[in-house]
């Protein structure tokens, strides 16, 4: 089972990831991003800027709840991958996602939510290590 691992900062798990068009799009563009692992997010999300840089068309709309308001946002179909071995290309999860856009004023461009996390095993250790096997 492939896995990505690293260290969290005690407050957040930020992991290097890749976003790509869905498998059936037969396009092999990649965008390297930083992703927040968020067990409080029901679904995965991607910034509009990242989606546009990949040329992803909007594929639907859905209400998004934040602390400020509920707003209607675009959704994009994409895949998420990780570099599990430094000598190989990224390894993509075997699922296509439809993720909502979010506005990011932070250092991450993707939020990996429970719809992805529940497909694998997420482990945390007291010394700051994490591992996500998928």
């Amino acid at each position: 089972m492939p896995a990505v691992s690293g260290r969290h900062n005690g407050r957040q798990i930020i992991v290097a990831a890749f976003v790509a068009p869905p498998l059936d799009a037969q396009r092999f563009d990649l965008l390297q991003v930083s992703a927040l692992v968020d067990t409080g997010a029901s679904r995965s999300l991607v910034t509009r800027d990242s989606a546009q840089r990949l040329g992803l068309p909007p594929r639907g709309k859905h209400p998004l709840v934040s602390a400020r308001a509920t707003e209607l946002v675009d959704r994009y179909a994409f895949r998420i991958g990780f570099r599990v071995d430094e000598t190989l290309g990224p390894w993509f999860l075997d699922v296509d996602l439809v993720g909502s856009e979010f506005r990011s004023q932070t250092d991450f461009q993707v939020i990996i939510g429970m719809a992805v996390l529940r497909t694998g095993t997420l482990q945390l250790w007291p010394d700051g290590r994490f591992r996500f096997a998928f």
Binding site: L23, T39, G40, L45, P57, P63, V65, S66, A67, T106
Partner: protein, 83 residues
């Protein structure tokens, strides 16, 4: 792909989806609805299956997908940090 046409398709399909959601929820909750021209074409269990059907049936790429649910997406802990 004609992005303006896709934008319009997404908006129109969403409006129509909201009108019929109450009538399809009981039977199809949790599924993914593939939509074209304001009509639901089919329901799927996975995004990949929905995309495969969509790409086979609509090579122009003009279609949309809607989750059959009334639940909004929760932005998670990030939202509580002011994002």
């Amino acid at each position: 792909m004609d992005m303006a046409a896709q934008r319009q398709q997404v908006d129109e399909n969403y409006d129509q989806f909201q009108r019929v959601l109450g009538s399809i929820l009981a039977e199809h909750e949790g599924k993914i609805a593939l939509m074209r021209d304001g009509e639901i074409v089919a329901f799927f269990d996975t995004v990949r299956d929905a995309l495969k059907c969509a790409n086979d049936r609509f090579p122009d790429g003009i279609y949309s997908l809607q989750d059959v649910t009334r639940e909004p997406i929760d932005l998670g802990v990030f939202s509580h940090a002011g994002g």
